[in-house]
C-alpha cells in the first residue's frame, strides 16, 4: 500500500441559503483558498475528483461547470461521483494507490436550498415500491427513529443529548450553521417535527462546499509538517429495500470500520456525518467509540450539513486535528442514502 495523506482542507461556511451565489461561485473561493493553503496550482494536481448531485442543482451535468473552479486547461485527468465528496476522495485514494497519481484535488459542493430537500431525497428510493409514495427524507428517518425508540435501543433524552453536544462543540467552528448552548430539557420541550423527531434532531439544510488535497509519501511530507495519513478507508452499502435491513444498527458502518481498522488502536477524535440524532448514536455504536474519543469536535453534520460536501468535511476536520497535534488518531465517517444505507469510514493518523 502507498502512503497517502490529507495535506490540505478548506470549506465554505454552511448557510441555510446562499442568496446570490450559484454552486460554482460557492466553490471557487474554497478551491482558491486551498491553492493558497498548499501552495499548489491546478497543474500540480495529477487527478481531480468531485462529488455533487444534479438533483440538488436541478439540471443535468451540473457538475461539469464545477471544473470552472479548477481550471481545466491544459486538459486535466478528472472524474466525478454523484455522491458525497468523501466517495470522490475514496476514488482519488484508489487512483493514487494504483500509481496513476501522486497528488489529487477532491471537492464536494451542493446548494440544496434551491429545491425542497426532503422531497428531492425521495428520488433516491427504489423507483417501483417506495418512491411513488413520495415519502420525504425526514419521515423516513422518523420511522427509523421510532423503531429505535420502540425497540429500547435509545431514549429521546439520548437523542437530544447528541444535539446538545454537537451544537456546543460547534461554537468554536466558524463554518458551522447551528451552534450554541442548549439543554436536553430545552430540546425535549420542542414540538415534534415528524414524530418522534424534533427539529433539533435533524441536521440543518445547508448550502456549501469543501475541498481536500491528497498527496502520497514524500510529496505529502514536503507539503505538510505533520500529514494526516490515511491508514484505512472503506465503504459498504446495504440493500435498497428497508425490509431486509436492520434499521436499529448500522451494519455497513460496522463492517467498513472493521475493514478500515478503526478499532485497532485508540481513537482521539471522531467526526460523524449522521444527519439525525438517532443515526449519530447508531454510528457511534457501530464505530465502537469509547468515552475517551472526542466526538464531533466541529459539531458534525448536525451543526452544518452541506450535502455532497458534509462527509468530505468530516475527513478534513479530522485531518486539521492531526496537523495541529490535537489528535494522533482520528476516524471520519460519511453516509449516503436513506437511513444510513451506505457508509464510509476513514482512519487518519499522524504517525
Amino acid at each position: 500500500m502507498r502512503e497517502v495523506a490529507v495535506v490540505g482542507f478548506t470549506q465554505s461556511p454552511s448557510l441555510r441559503r446562499e442568496p446570490d451565489r450559484n454552486e460554482i461561485e460557492i466553490l471557487i473561493p474554497v478551491i482558491e483558498a486551498l491553492r493558497k493553503q498548499t501552495g499548489l496550482s491546478s497543474k500540480d494536481f495529477d487527478f481531480v475528483c468531485s462529488g455533487s448531485s444534479d438533483y440538488l442543482a436541478g439540471q443535468s451535468f451540473a457538475f461539469v461547470s464545477g471544473l470552472d473552479a479548477v481550471g481545466a486547461w491544459p486538459p486535466v485527468c478528472e472524474s466525478h461521483v454523484e455522491m458525497d465528496g468523501a466517495w470522490a476522495l475514496y476514488e482519488a485514494w484508489v487512483k493514487i494507490q494504483m500509481g496513476y497519481a501522486d497528488t489529487a484535488l477532491v471537492y464536494g459542493f451542493g446548494k440544496p436550498s434551491m429545491g425542497d430537500l426532503p422531497l428531492t431525497m425521495a428520488l433516491q428510493l427504489d423507483p417501483y415500491v417506495m418512491m411513488p409514495l413520495w415519502p420525504d427524507a425526514i419521515s423516513i428517518a422518523g420511522l427509523q427513529a421510532r423503531h429505535c425508540l420502540d425497540a429500547g435501543l435509545m431514549k429521546p433524552e439520548d437523542m437530544a443529548a447528541a444535539a446538545v453536544r454537537d451544537r456546543g462543540h460547534a461554537k468554536s467552528n466558524p463554518y458551522a450553521q447551528v451552534k450554541g448552548d442548549y439543554t436536553v430539557a430545552q430540546i425535549l420541550a420542542e414540538p415534534f417535527l415528524v414524530n418522534p423527531l424534533r427539529r433539533s434532531d435533524c441536521a440543518p439544510i445547508s448550502d456549501g462546499a469543501s475541498a481536500i488535497v491528497l498527496a502520497a509519501g514524500d510529496r505529502a511530507r514536503k507539503l505538510c509538517d505533520r500529514p494526516a495519513w490515511i491508514r484505512g478507508i472503506d465503504h459498504i452499502c446495504e440493500p435498497m429495500d428497508f425490509g431486509v435491513r436492520d434499521l436499529g444498527r448500522s451494519r455497513s458502518t460496522e463492517i467498513a470500520a472493521e475493514k478500515a481498522g478503526a478499532g485497532r488502536d485508540k481513537i482521539d477524535v471522531a467526526e460523524l456525518s449522521a444527519p439525525f440524532t438517532h443515526q449519530e448514536i447508531l454510528v457511534e455504536r457501530a464505530l465502537g467509540l469509547s468515552a475517551k474519543t472526542k466526538v464531533n469536535p466541529s459539531g458534525g453534520a448536525l451543526a452544518g450539513n452541506p450535502l455532497m460536501a458534509v462527509g468530505l468535511s468530516r475527513i478534513g476536520e479530522c485531518a486539521t486535528r492531526i496537523w495541529s497535534g490535537e489528535a494522533d488518531r482520528a476516524v471520519a465517517h460519511a453516509t449516503s442514502g436513506p437511513c444510513l444505507q451506505q457508509n464510509l469510514v476513514c482512519v487518519l493518523e499522524g504517525n
Binding site: 450559484n22 460554482i24 491546478s42 436541478g58 470552472d68 434551491m114 429545491g115 411513488p132
Partner: protein, 169 residues
C-alpha cells in the same frame, strides 16, 4: 361487463407516477450581472486576469485558469464576425426564423469566446468572416433574457480577415 369495467376489476398492470420537483433557481452573481445588463441592451463579458481573454457571457471564473473574475466587466459591441455556420432544415423551438435557417457561431467584437445564434440572411450569402450585427426585440420587450436578441443580420462591412478569428473555429 364493459371492457372498461373489466379493466378496472382486473389486476393492475400499469402504475403511472408523475415526477416533478420545483426549484427556486438562482443564476449566480456573474450571470445575474450579465442578465441585468442585457435587460438594458448591454452585452457584458469578463476579462481573465491571467491571459486577458474576454469571456462572453460574463461568468464567475476562468475555466482555463480557475481564477475568480471579480466584479470587472467588459462591455462588448453587438457587432461581430461569423466564424462558422450551419444550415438547419429541421424544426426547433424558440427560433425566430422560418425554416430553413442559418445557425452561426458569432465572435462579438472584443470577445474571445463565441456566441451561438441564428442569422437572417439568404442561405447562399452566408460565409466565414461575414460581418453581422444583432437585431434586438423592441426596447419595451427587453427582459433579463438573451432572447432580447432575435437574430443576427449581415452588415455592410468588409469581411474580417481569417487570422482574426481562426482560433475560434
Amino acid at each position: 361487463m364493459s371492457a372498461k369495467e373489466e379493466q378496472a376489476s382486473g389486476p393492475v398492470m400499469v402504475l403511472s407516477c408523475p415526477i416533478s420537483l420545483d426549484y427556486a433557481y438562482s443564476a449566480g452573481q456573474s450571470a445575474s450581472r450579465f442578465l441585468r445588463a442585457i435587460a438594458e441592451g448591454k452585452l457584458l463579458g469578463q476579462r481573465c486576469p491571467v491571459d486577458g481573454r474576454v469571456y462572453f457571457p460574463s461568468r464567475g471564473s476562468c475555466p482555463m485558469h480557475g481564477v475568480t473574475f471579480g466584479d470587472d466587466a467588459v462591455e462588448l459591441s453587438d457587432k461581430g464576425t461569423i466564424v462558422t455556420f450551419s444550415i438547419v432544415r429541421v424544426p426547433s423551438q424558440n427560433i425566430a426564423l422560418p425554416l430553413p435557417y442559418i445557425t452561426v457561431n458569432v465572435l462579438l467584437d472584443g470577445a474571445d469566446t463565441i456566441l451561438i445564434h441564428v442569422l437572417d440572411a439568404k442561405l447562399e450569402d452566408v460565409h466565414m468572416g461575414m460581418r453581422v450585427q444583432a437585431v434586438w426585440k423592441p426596447r419595451e420587450e427587453w427582459t433579463t433574457s438573451t432572447a432580447n436578441i432575435l437574430y443576427f443580420r449581415p452588415i455592410d462591412e468588409p469581411d474580417a480577415k481569417y487570422e482574426t478569428y481562426k482560433e475560434h473555429i
